[in-house]
């Protein structure tokens, strides 16, 4: 087929036959290629069901090992755009968690929060799909539980009991000493 919509020179019979053959042959050549693709396995994957392998050092949504975290604010201070906010109430050695949120509207996944952590408890995860229909939900809470964990509660109770026992012993000792003084 020729290229211009305008009036053209008439073509020779030889050229006509060549055009017919070219049209036929190129169509078959194209169909051979598409036929090969038709029979091969598709290269796409069914995304929500299957996922591409993600590299180990991929920087996705953070994940926090909450048990290890000591609420030292090192990550929050390291963050260049101040998108980490954390809050916890201290009961002796134990922590009662109120919040640990990363604002993913701002976060640029620079990984700078990971390096200063003294307990090595904040990491960049492999999850990348974090879709909501509400902006406020993008301020994502990394805590897996709020308040105190069971273990922390038990430890705190044990510590309290120990302290109480110690206090009682101390008081008894004190009383003994007083009695002795009196005597």
């Amino acid at each position: 087929m020729s290229d211009q919509a305008t009036m053209r020179e008439p073509i020779s019979a030889r050229e006509w036959i060549k055009n017919v053959w070219d049209g036929f042959y190129t169509t078959l050549a194209g169909m051979k290629i598409t036929g090969r693709y038709l029979l091969q396995k598709p290269i796409t994957i069914q995304y929500p069901d299957e996922r591409m392998p993600i590299p180990d050092r991929y920087r996705g949504i953070h994940y926090l090992e909450q048990e290890k975290c000591i609420n030292c604010l090192a990550c929050a201070r390291a963050c260049p755009i101040d998108c980490i906010e954390m809050d916890a109430i201290r009961h002796g050695k134990e922590l009662e968690w109120v919040s640990f949120s990363v604002d993913y509207q701002k976060c640029m996944f620079c990984e700078l929060c990971v390096y200063p952590c003294p307990k090595d408890c904040i990491h960049m995860g492999t999850e990348f799909a974090f879709v909501t229909d509400d902006r406020s939900e993008l301020k994502h809470d990394l805590l897996s539980y709020k308040g105190m964990s069971r273990e922390a509660r038990i430890r705190m109770k044990e510590a309290e009991a120990k302290k109480a026992a110690k206090d009682a012993a101390k008081a008894a000792k004190g009383a003994d000493a007083k009695e002795g003084d009196d005597a």
Partner: protein, 382 residues
């Protein structure tokens, strides 16, 4: 060239001979005596219509799904995978429900009567063409002696519906699309008819049942493509012309979604839009069935030959014949899809050049060669 009114007259003039129609024969035997005799042909017609429309609609739905799967796999992806479970088999049903639920929109500036009539005309014309298309040797709606002629006439009637849709939409894109359709169909009717002439010459009949029966020799492999060397190029020409006739890519200029938005379909939505799509797929099957009957041996295959020799039950034989024919037409439809996802859309002047300067002379050459071959054969074997 093709006048449906004349063919309609031929239909009435050459009424089918009695007997042969399996439904009618079965009804004659088993119908309760209370039914008057004149009602039996009407009931036969009703049953045939219901079966034909159901089969065609189901085939259209399946092939919409198939087209999406084929296009997906050609592009190295999966296509629909969720609806219904296994490879998204229910996608067409889901789409159909969605289209039925959509608002029926008619643009303000449009010609309402024509706008509403166009999809009905298009669909009616294509189902009308199936009147002459037998699905099995003893199961047909009308045994028309000029069947091939009638089918070509009815299928080109859909063009009027498309032009009507484009005009009534009151949109320049729609009008461009329908003008292209008109030009394209005028250009491609000629090679379509001429290339069909070749197997018709070999068959010596316009009747589809007779043409299929003429290929039953050589253990069901006496197909016209093996009987006359000019039938093979004629088959390729028929296929190309049928692609243009059914507005399939690479000749989908009336739609041309990237340049004309969607051509004559631009203003349509919902169920009217899906009528046009149903017509497209029904037309694909019609053309593939024609190709199957006249080029690929119709109902005939060695399996049917064996079944006939063993004198199996006629219903079983007819089922085998119907399956053979539909499988052959399915092959044609698959090749149409394959071509669609291989070639880019050609320009309108290229379409015209190809129709008038290449396909028509080639079809004429084929017809001439086939005529000489047949004449020579008759002269030698006389």
């Amino acid at each position: 060239m093709l006048n449906p009114i004349v063919t309609g007259a031929a239909l009435v003039a050459e009424a089918p001979a009695q007997g042969g129609n399996l439904t009618l024969d079965l009804l004659r035997e088993h119908a309760p005596a209370a039914l008057p005799g004149w009602s039996l042909p009407l009931i036969t017609a009703l049953i045939s219509v219901v079966i034909v429309i159901t089969v065609i609609s189901l085939l259209a739905m399946v092939s919409v799904w198939l087209e999406r799967k084929v296009s997906g796999h050609i592009q190295c992806r999966y296509g629909p995978m969720y609806a219904g479970g296994w490879h998204g088999w229910a996608q067409s049903i889901a789409d159909g429900v969605k289209l039925l639920m959509k608002e029926d929109m008619i643009p303000l500036g449009s010609d309402k009567a024509l706008f509403m009539l166009a999809p009905a005309l298009v669909l009616g014309a294509i189902f009308g063409a199936f009147v002459a298309m037998p699905l099995a040797p003893d199961f047909y709606f009308a045994d028309i002696h000029l069947g091939a002629f009638f089918i070509l006439g009815m299928s080109s009637l859909t063009t009027i519906g498309v032009v009507m849709a484009g005009w009534a939409s009151n949109s320049k894109w729609s009008l461009y699309g329908s003008m292209r359709e008109a030009a394209q169909v005028v250009a491609y009717e000629i090679p379509l008819g001429l290339s069909l002439m070749v197997p018709l010459m070999v068959a010596g009949t316009f009747n589809l049942l007779d043409a299929s029966a003429a290929q039953s020799d050589y253990w069901g492999m006496g197909w016209f493509v093996f009987k006359n060397p000019f039938v093979i190029p004629a088959g390729i020409l028929f296929f190309v012309a049928a692609l243009a006739e059914t507005k399939r890519a690479p000749f989908d200029l009336p739609e041309a979604e990237s340049e004309l938005v969607a051509g004559f379909l631009t203003e349509y939505s919902g169920i009217r839009w899906s009528f046009f799509f149903m017509e497209e797929y029904a037309a694909m099957y019609l053309m593939s069935l024609m190709a199957a009957v006249f080029f690929l041996g119709g109902f005939e295959s060695p399996v049917l030959h064996v079944a006939r020799q063993a004198e199996w039950h006629p219903i079983l034989c007819n089922l085998i014949a119907a399956t053979t024919l539909i499988a052959k037409s399915m092959f044609g439809v698959l090749v149409m899809m394959w071509v669609r996802w291989t070639l880019p859309r050609v320009r309108i002047d290229q379409v015209m050049t190809m129709g008038y300067k290449y396909l028509t002379p080639l079809a004429l050459l084929c017809a001439l060669g086939a005529a000489l071959w047949e004449a020579g054969k008759a002269w030698i074997f006389a």
